[in-house]
Amino acid sequence: MSDVIVKTTNLTKNFPAKKGIFRRSNGCIYAVHDVNLEIPEGKIFGLVGESGSGKTTIGNLLVRLIEPTCGRIQLNGQDILDLKKSEEIHFRRKVQMIFQDPYESLNPRLTVYETVAEPLIIQEKRSMHGNEKELLYALESAGLTPPQDFLYRYPHELSGGQRQRVAIARALIIRPKFVVADEPVSMLDVSIRVSVLNLMLELKDNFGLTYLFITHDLSIARYMCDWLIVMYQGKIVESGNTEEVIQHPLHPYTRALISAVPIPDPMVKRRRVELSEAMEDTSKPPLRCRFYPKCETRSPICEREYPEFNDKGHAHFVACHGV
């Protein structure tokens, strides 16, 4: 296994929860709880789970858009949470993010030139002028050809796919090491998804990137990722090599998730795992298994203690008493 580029230790993020007219403070939502990650360099690391499982929160934590409640994050072995102001800019240079919605992630008042050049201007204290060379290269790498046609356009003059490519060009122009891609194709038309995904794969090789690829779509995860982590309500329930996890899901939640993916072949029948509507209250700290209310295979121990995260061989980890 190659070097670990990003490592988190007991990463936890709570959001304060307020309800009612009089704003009674009802404790907090445990969005991410006690997460330990090791992301190997040069790999695509997939993060899957349903909405609200804490995937995006982890993404935001890793690029420091939000600060964790507790826990540590290390980048190349260096703790990034207590960086000085002057060191922060170096960190920003190494880590970039691609957002889900290309219609929202570009400033509508800036041209492509201004948007893409911004990281350069900030990072290298350049002036607004004279960055054409890098820009044209970045745009071309992002598949916008001929690049000079796009330089002075505004976002509203571009299609969704083109915008996402601009966003990618912007993320890559300062040659980051680690990119968080938060559902980068979910807002795009199905027809152009593959080309954007392919572009990302291509860039990974060309620029030597490491991706944290966040998605709820298992088929895309399977297409993209080397490694897969399944999250459920702020906790990691299963992790392992992509093919291993998808072929041999161990956690009941992962099994339910995989059974929900439609199979294009009408002849194949798969047993669908139906989950009950019952939900665990995320405003309480996890004392029992989060999946307990929905689990088909639960046993009394599941209610008493939270399952340990165990290696089941082939670097396949799972947190379940039943396995």
């Binding site: 240079r93 008042r109 990281p119």
Partner: protein, 297 residues
């Protein structure tokens, strides 16, 4: 190299589109131009004969009481024999001066406070919003009069300053709520991921996106300034050494000519209302352009 050339999406374009597509906007612009011409013409009228047509000290030597329109005085004279028309023309200069300056000042302050308050939140926000609450919870005219009473000399610039420094709260509130929503938008987060400083985010990413709204509130601010200065004038608190429309009405009212000399009472009041209306119409048309939901299906 064309850097930052705004094609199609620039503010000027937005303005032009907003105003030209809307009949009401055109009316507004037409009225503004009319009064603009009046303001420009004013010095020429005075120059015909300053002894007669100076709005403050010129008097017609043959007229000793307020008289109706004649050829030499198309809008008649006031009780001292001063020409109403030249007062009206001079008044349009003052209305523009007060309106535009106060509108700009109030909008700039309001936008700055709204941006800072909405972006940084927390204690800064609380403090600034409490100040806003304070200004908004005191009736404006008595508040202005109280502030003006502190000054021994009420020159027009003192009035402009006081109006400008107290006219921003509504703008600040609107810009703040807009900023609160903008700061959570992915493009702002994207800039933050790129390492942009807070001020860069505010100036490059948020401010340009509240600009149309700022402009809208400026037109409202101009309306507010014109009406408020006129109100102060009517109550006798404007600069007595200039002939603003409010002061004209005050002279007419306080000397008992209100219902007697309609040629003197109608023009200033009508001008105040029309100019205020015109800026509002422009703002209204602009609002429809900014908020597409308000347009016709």
């Amino acid at each position: 190299m064309r850097i930052g050339t705004k094609r199609k999406f620039g503010l000027a374009h937005l303005l032009f589109k907003g105003i030209s597509q809307e009949a009401l906007g055109k009316i507004g612009i037409a009225i503004i131009i009319l009064f603009g011409v009046m303001a420009l013409v004013s010095p020429f009228v005075i120059n015909i004969d300053p002894d007669v047509y100076d709005p403050l000290i010129g008097v017609d030597p043959l007229i000793f009481s307020s008289q109706g329109p004649t050829l030499t005085h198309p809008l008649g004279t006031d009780h001292l024999g001063r020409d109403v028309l030249s007062q009206l023309l001079k008044g349009s200069q003052i209305a523009f001066l007060v309106g535009i300056t106060v509108g700009l000042m109030a909008t700039l302050i309001g936008t700055a406070i709204g941006l800072i308050s909405g972006y940084f939140r927390g204690a800064t926000d609380s403090l600034l919003m409490r100040i806003t609450d304070i200004i908004l919870s005191i009736p404006s005219l008595p508040l202005l009069i109280m502030i003006l009473c502190v000054f021994e000399h009420r020159g027009i610039w003192v009035i402009v300053m006081v109006l400008g420094l107290t006219g921003w709260p509504i703008t600040a509130r609107v810009i703040r709520s807009q900023t609160l929503s903008l700061r959570e938008r992915p493009f702002v987060q994207s800039a933050r991921v790129s390492g942009a400083s807070d001020w860069r985010i505010i100036l490059i990413h948020i401010a340009p996106n509240v600009l149309p709204l700022t402009f809208l509130y400026m037109t409202i601010g101009v309306t507010y300034a014109i009406l408020t200065e006129a109100g102060l004038g009517f109550l006798g608190f404007s600069d007595p050494t200039i002939s603003s429309w409010g002061m004209m009405l005050q002279w007419c009212f306080s000397t008992g000519h209100t219902f007697k000399a309609l040629y003197w009472m109608i023009p200033p009041g009508l001008s105040i209302s029309l100019l205020a209306l015109s800026f509002y119409l422009v703002g209204y048309s602009l609002e429809r352009e900014i908020n597409p939901r308000l347009r016709e299906p």
